[in-house]
């Protein structure tokens, strides 16, 4: 990649840009960096897009008049996205964040014709000279959720509502199960796929079915508000995702894996302003602050809280590896041998359930 000619052209431009910024204070305040955000969903009050919007606000608070920001929400992944990104470029956006896997191709397409604009695509994997990608190891937080569930569940049977059996969802589910069984070795995860990221009615029906079938604690990988509500109504503990869900279940929501992009976005903008930004494939986790555990519910006893804090430390420092062997799938096949750690490439194409998940096999490659 360093040998691509565009890269050199871009480096020159970036240097020139940084030089312009450094010239005088007036030029600096008169010419703030325009940072634009494209969201695939409406912002709402919780969820993936909401967390990116929180990060944008953090960025504005931190950078003051050095930047101006703009966002467009609820844009379908496809031709619509390309049109909006092109508009961003025409309006003078110099840094464009497109946090969605489905925005990867449109971003790359526009980036080819706008070499002096920097693009950051969240959850994609293809980079270019002026396109960086970033993603988080959400499963680190899922493991901790599993430990909390294992510590709080009486029966050791936990219900899990999944959207689609894609690697990211399976990583979270399997990490959760490993965490659960690190506390309760006989713990079971009952799994229901609803085949939808967003259908409160169906999520609620699935949550009720899981409770009826003996689960006393719920976790999910869908939008989830309806599930946290159902838990609160039925007095079952829930573990949340994307955002801090405690407002939806003040008594029963134990904690949530929160996506916190703010510090990373601030770093990216600082790098761009200083002219040292480089295209990269960034993967962060608890260590980098891309995810956090939401404050634990009052119902969680002190010793569990201590344990969670220790886990957060150990995972951040690398002392504890979530997918360390032996990892056995639910058909008894060994996926990671004892003493080994699952390589990143295997994580990226995870397509099985670990032992302890009581659910249906996802089909496919």
């Amino acid at each position: 990649m360093p040998h691509q000619p565009t890269r050199h052209a871009f480096a020159r431009l970036a240097t020139a840009f940084a030089a312009t910024l450094g010239m005088t204070a007036t030029a600096h305040s008169a010419d703030p960096l325009k940072v634009c955000f494209l969201y695939s969903n409406p912002i709402g009050e919780s969820g993936w897009t909401y967390q990116h919007e929180l990060a944008r606000k953090e960025l504005v608070a931190a950078m003051g008049d050095k930047i101006i920001t703009k966002y467009v929400e609820n844009i379908a992944e496809g031709p619509d996205a390309e049109r909006v990104i092109r508009n961003f470029v025409q309006e003078g956006c110099k840094l464009v964040f497109t946090p969605s896997f489905g925005f990867m191709e449109p971003t790359l397409k526009v980036a080819r014709s706008a070499p002096n604009v920097i693009f950051m695509n969240g959850s994609g994997y293809k980079t270019a000279a002026n396109v960086g990608v970033y993603n988080a190891r959400y499963y680190e937080g899922r493991y901790i959720e599993g430990v909390i569930a294992g510590s709080m569940s009486k029966s050791g049977v936990v219900g899990y509502v999944g959207a689609f059996p894609i690697p990211e969802v399976l990583q979270g589910l399997n990490a959760f199960t490993l965490g659960l069984r690190s506390v309760k070795p006989q713990g079971q995860v009952k799994l229901i796929w609803v085949n939808s990221w967003y259908d409160p009615g169906k999520e609620r029906d699935a949550a009720n079915a899981l409770l009826k079938l003996g689960a006393d604690t719920l976790a999910y990988h869908t939008s989830g508000v309806a599930i946290v509500n159902t838990g609160e109504e039925k007095g079952a503990y829930t573990l949340g995702y994307y955002s801090d869900m405690s407002t939806f279940g003040p008594k029963t929501n134990l904690s949530s894996v929160m996506q916190t992009w703010g510090p990373y976005y601030i770093k990216v903008v600082e790098d761009v302003l200083a002219g040292r930004w480089k295209s990269d494939n960034v993967l962060g986790g608890l260590k980098e602050g891309m995810i956090h555990m939401a404050p634990l519910n009052q119902a969680v006893p002190a010793e569990v809280k201590t344990r969670v804090a220790a886990l957060e430390r150990d995972i951040a420092s690398g002392k504890l590896q979530v997918f360390a062997g032996p990892v056995v799938d639910h058909e008894g096949k060994e996926r990671v041998a004892a003493g080994q750690v699952m390589p990143g490439a295997d994580l990226d194409r995870m397509n099985y359930l670990v032992k302890g998940v009581d659910g249906m096999l996802p089909k496919g490659p």
Binding site: E45, N195, A209, L213, A226, M360
Partner: protein, 310 residues
């Protein structure tokens, strides 16, 4: 499977089928008058939002449902004006109404996004709810579930046993003949459209008040389209609409339980998720395979504009 499990599947099936029944019966009456209103999805969204706002403001479920109904009527009258008075294309206007309702509800609903209300307690019917097994499932339900049963009876009676229903069907079959014998085709169609809108509003209110007591953009999640499809596959007959709605709800709920039981079936979960659609269409097409009977029950003038002065 033990008895309580079956009872909870039946109970959840009734809840899942209820919004479909209410919306589909409304649309059935509209279509029987010869008007095709494809705006159910957007009308439900507006009904759900209006009901939620009223419920949050004054905490009264019946008034909230009334607000949902009012919003549904308002939406349908916009449609009625476009198609009945201005003679716009019904398919295009209905689709526009759906998109409009989904967008407008998202816009107005922003401050209410993901807000939640407490669940409304179900109404237990004494004696009947004590019947073993099916009692608690059938007779310990939300009020609108019982209302939907009454609605089925009322619509069936209206269409086939009342004079007004006969007139409505005549208008749907041949508006020109109906007008020739002195019936006011356009006002009758307005009433039918308003009834369909009211029911779509109530169906939406059921979602945001009784099913999942919250407002969130996109919470209707395609139920309006399913209701529209049910009317066609049920060949415009109320009892078959009920059959289709409960079949759909039943297969949907059952597949969730099958997954949760961890049965080792050699089918992908996606197949189970598609099953409610496949099963409902298959059964309704099978029972409606008599072409002559379908022709007999489908409103001949469905979707065609009618000019009273032509």
């Amino acid at each position: 499977m033990d008895a309580t499990l079956i009872a909870s599947i039946i109970g959840a099936t009734l809840v899942a089928g209820t919004p479909l029944i209410i919306v589909a019966l409304g649309e059935l009456v509209t279509e029987r008058s010869g008007v095709l209103n494809l705006g159910a999805e957007g009308t439900m969204a507006m009904g759900a939002l209006s009901a939620f706002i009223v419920n949050q403001a004054i905490g009264s479920a019946p008034l909230a449902v009334a607000a949902g109904m009012a919003a549904g009527v308002a939406m349908s009258l916009v449609f009625g004006y476009l198609t009945l008075t201005m003679l716009a294309n019904q398919v295009a206007s209905g689709l526009a109404l759906s998109i409009f309702g989904i967008g407008l509800s998202a816009f107005i609903g922003k401050p209410y996004e993901s807000a939640a209300m407490p669940m409304v307690a179900p109404i237990r019917i004494p004696v009947l709810a004590d019947i073993p097994l099916v009692g608690p499932a059938l007779f310990n339900q939300q009020s609108l579930v019982y209302v939907s049963w009454a609605l089925v009876a009322a619509v069936a009676w209206f269409l086939y046993r009342s004079r007004a229903g006969l007139v409505l069907r005549a208008v749907g079959e041949s508006p020109a003949s109906a007008q020739a014998v002195g019936y006011a085709v356009i006002p009758i169609r307005y009433l039918a459209v308003a009834f369909g809108g009211a029911m779509a509003g109530v169906g939406g209110a059921f979602l945001s008040i009784y099913y999942t007591p919250l407002w969130s953009q996109g919470m209707v999640a395609g139920r309006g389209w399913i209701a529209l499809a049910l009317v066609v596959f049920a060949t415009w007959r109320p009892i078959r609409v009920v059959l289709g709605a409960y079949l759909f709800g039943g297969v949907m709920i059952s597949q969730l339980f099958v997954q949760g039981l961890g049965l080792k079936l050699e089918v992908p979960a996606q197949f189970l998720s598609a099953l409610p659609y496949v099963a409902t269409i298959a059964v309704l097409v099978l029972i409606s395979r008599n072409a002559a009977a379908v022709r007999l029950h489908s409103p001949v003038s469905l979707g065609l504009p009618f000019r009273a002065d032509a």
